[in-house]
Symmetry: D2
Subunit: 346 residues, 4 copies
């Protein structure tokens, strides 16, 4: 029985962890913290569990939470996980951080983009980047895991198979990303009201988005040549899902088949990431509610470009599902445990 | 040129007034107040007006606003219009109140349901109830107008034609109402976030809603027998529109034709309220973006019930459009001025 | 290993069965028929299963399907199941019919409402009505199961606990129902296009709906006094879910507690049907993607009415989930098998 | 009084013309043709016009329609306008074609992309391309007008101001376009059902879309160097609107101010096309229901790219609104007549 606590259990990634783990018989919840709903029962969210669950949301008390848990998921805004991870060093507890605090190797870049001090830089070397399909070995022995965000997971799963290829120009990458609204979190703002977003569509943070340095950092690790990314996020009037359209210039004539083969090799044995058959195109609802990521790859001979389309559920493969995938590895379990989910269609 | 000020010009009813009036050549805006966006330009909302409008949102300064305006629209939460109306007595300005402050004749009922003191009860006798189709004469000479809300307008336009009929049981009225989200206003709450409401549907305030006493008060004025209303509001995942399904027990056998005739007589010459032809059913998008209200009437011979279906746009005929209709009357203009709108379909 | 065939596997109820059963290790699919997509692979729908499933959609050949299957789900329009059930008599196969062919006891009523001949009336006595919570014993031994539809399941689960009560007037029942669009099926019609329904809301079949006789038939079985139902369906711009608001006149003063107790007794041990705690209100997304049904009950002392709110997922508890619940019983399995699902929120 | 006929008056562009023109006092409708709804009254669509309009949909009879109309709008699928334009040569009637039949100068390209014969190639030289802001003089004297489509209008209004600039690389243009569902027309297909598209998002025709040659043809007219366009359309779950994100490589260092100035000069006096102020970002609902097009321009110094964002309403500025703008010019009227519309927000 793995004793699990979720810090920030009523935000969207926190409640998604709860949703995905609550019926598992090998998981026992210890603490579900929430500043907003302290004292409220979990069954206010999930009334159908009334005969099963007597849990209530609590405040975060470090000594209790860290001492009594085997693993703590941090689902808080940036800036909190640094403190928690430092406290956790004194306990035999693993920390899975869904916030960005331990994703950026370069302290200066973190501090510039997030406008807080990186107060736990001593822990950075031991933090493992949790893009599961590319980092399994390290993840298995991690005590502090930096779980990648949704946009970044989508970009990396689409791009990494070709980053080592001599055929592409790694300075030409354009990522045109479209995200569902839950990616913006559960804080109450006028901009995210239903009446504002229904029927609407927009771009935001057009030239400068916090995820650019993280994407470039991770892509660079797989590329010999300098990488540069243009990243434009857009907000879709749907609840969940990310669709990413990626454009890369090809340096020379190369067949689609040759490039597809790189993806095929990379993903043929993966359970959650799949290259679509030729002719298929990904759709958001093909992955809604699942930990799956679908990738399609096409070469435009006319324009000499590679076009990559990626879809995943921002709250699952882009956050809480990948976190569980990583937890499974960290505890020696089957990586797929609790994640064999079918998409909700229609 | 009518000098118009809007108090609360960035909420949904306030900005709807702005939207509907801004292109009228006989209207000049004086003050558009907003606590949230003081100093921001109107063209932040409507960038295409950049060559036309140099207005900015301001704070409310009574002596300026009331002295320089011919009419003030109050689009604020309940409790504010009482003060404003009292201040306005010292100026030759008309007040059109879109809040509930002057809708309820009975001070005790107002104070019970809205939990504030009715501090302007001396003005109640002079306040005119602005259900335009039923109150034109009084509206024309009104200085203080209580504009009905969306649920109430919908209920009254559907029910008033039969309230005097001996065939119905006025204690059996059930109003099952479904409203778009803009009816909840523009305040930032988690409950009204896109990610919460998309794909969702719910009832709220099931037994006790603030609009019940207002509906009963107005219906009672047209009925000899005591009226009692069951009112259940529901929240629809759409931006605007109210659909109301009304059930009334018939006391005795009466033909559908006979009851339809009552509606026909009432509305045949109206420009904004229409009885649908037999066989037609109202749909929300038939009236989206317009000041129109569509009504259908059917008798169920099997169950001896009258069923009335009503649709209107909660922000227009249910709020700002009716307020303009009333303003037109109060200033001796054509009642339809600026309100000949076509529904946005699809 | 249970050998399962689905007739009409690409409609919404058929593909929902596929979705819910495909990962079960005790189920083997034999035939998935589809007139529209013969020859197409299942992985065109579910690309992430490409390494798991080699199934393709086929035509219906009775002798093969019925001989090689342990159970056949009929997900076809009305009129087909009668033929199939007659053919099935010659094989040791169970038939679970999601169409209305075997739901109405009265042949004349079926023929009037569905405008086809009831050609299998000899099978009607052996057909078992599959409202699981009320009919477990019969279902366990059924060979031919009439699975109730979504509106009817919703109405019955909300009403049956009080149908035997002397406090209610069973002739006063009003059911104001709101359904997601998938309830209309997957046939291509202009009326169900996205551009028509987004932002829209409407009632349909206002006085006369095919489900009225089925609701009255089943309610009557639990009532000593004559039952009469007013049923008004509305179409919601959401993909799945039914919300039902029920009004019933109370004959005399009766406490809410007393009526709640009837629901409590009925559902306290149920896994899928739950009475909400006092103060909670059901919302559609509380049950989206699950086999759960949530019920709330309130007494309005002012109007002497009982108000019942019911939510369920029309494709699961209202169709395919309940069909699986019934299949589980028919094959001696745990009724909950494969149906412990968490709602997709947000 | 201009006598107007609409061929295909019940599709989305046809009914949008009807919606926008029906309240104009200088327009008289002669024929509204529809193969689907022959004989049905216009008031089935717009019940609130019941006291105003007695029009019904009819079949197309060339000799009547062309003889009795001053202008005919062709809102039919490609392939029909060629015949109609040839018939129209015998009458003093103007033809405004919203289909693609007269948009492509090169007969071979038209026949390749649309897979029909260009049977009216003799009329091509006299057909005027109706991108209003760039072609007013020719439009004023046109008898046969080829009205551009929604994707193309969006791309051209965003790109034309810089096509003559030496700073951009015209072979590097990437157009990532996102369209509302009404762009797909009103034909009944499973793929466009509400239950399929709600919550969904996808790309389509990724490498090869019919609008690519039209975009390249028109851009080339303004560029000295060869133009090449990558165009990827995506389908948004909204009813109307196109959002276009355009990426262009800059050849050398050039300030944002210098490029913005090109747009400023081009659009400063336009009533419907506007360059947004620095810091503003376009949103779909800023233009919903209007003939406006909003453009924002940003230079990314880090990546040496120009990013252009464009929004317009696909049914208005992208189709019927622009057609009316053109009609106004062709009949010597104020170009803005009937098109001063405010966006529907929320």
């Amino acid at each position: 029985m793995i004793k699990v606590s979720i810090l920030g259990a009523t935000g969207y990634t926190g409640s998604e962890l709860l949703r995905l783990l609550i019926l598992r018989s090998d998981i026992e919840f210890k603490y579900l913290t929430s500043t907003r709903l302290v004292g409220r029962a979990v069954t206010d969210y999930y009334p159908h569990l009334k005969n099963l669950s007597s849990l209530a949301f609590t405040e975060y008390e470090a000594e209790k939470v860290l001492a009594e848990s085997d693993v703590v998921f941090v689902c808080l805004p940036h800036g909190h996980a640094m403190t928690i991870a430092k406290q956790a060093k004194q306990y035999p507890v693993k920390v899975i951080d869904l916030s960005p605090d331990f994703r950026l190797d370069d302290v200066a870049v973190y501090e510039e983009y997030y406008e807080v001090n990186q107060t736990a830089s001593d822990l950075l070397p031991s933090a493992v980047y949790g893009l599961t399909e590319y980092n399994r070995e390290q993840i298995q022995s991690a005590d502090l895991l930096a779980n990648p965000g949704c946009f970044v997971t989508s970009a990396l799963l689409g791009l990494l198979p070709v980053m080592g290829s001599a055929h592409i120009n790694p300075k030409s990458i354009i990522i045109d990303a479209k995200s569902g609204v839950s990616g913006a979190g559960k804080s109450a703002t006028v901009a995210n009201l239903f009446a504002e977003l229904q029927g609407n569509f927009k771009a935001y943070n057009v030239l400068r988005h916090r995820h650019i340095p993280e994407i470039e950092q991770e892509l660079q690790k797989f590329s010999l040549d300098p990488v540069q990314v243009q990243f434009t996020p857009h907000l879709l009037p749907i609840e969940r899902g990310i669709f990413t359209t990626i454009y890369i210039d090809l340096k020379e004539d190369v067949s689609e088949a040759e490039l597809r083969e790189l993806f095929q090799q990379q993903y043929v044995n993966e359970k959650f990431v799949h290259l679509l058959d030729k002719g298929q195109l990904p759709e958001m609802k093909m992955i809604r509610g699942t930990n799956n990521c679908l990738v399609q790859v096409q070469v435009d001979k006319r324009t000499h470009r590679l076009i990559i389309l990626v879809v995943l559920d921002n709250l699952i493969k882009g956050a809480s599902g990948q976190a569980i995938q990583n937890m499974n590895l960290m505890f020696g379990l089957d990586e797929q445990k609790g994640l064999n989910l079918m998409p909700l269609t229609p």
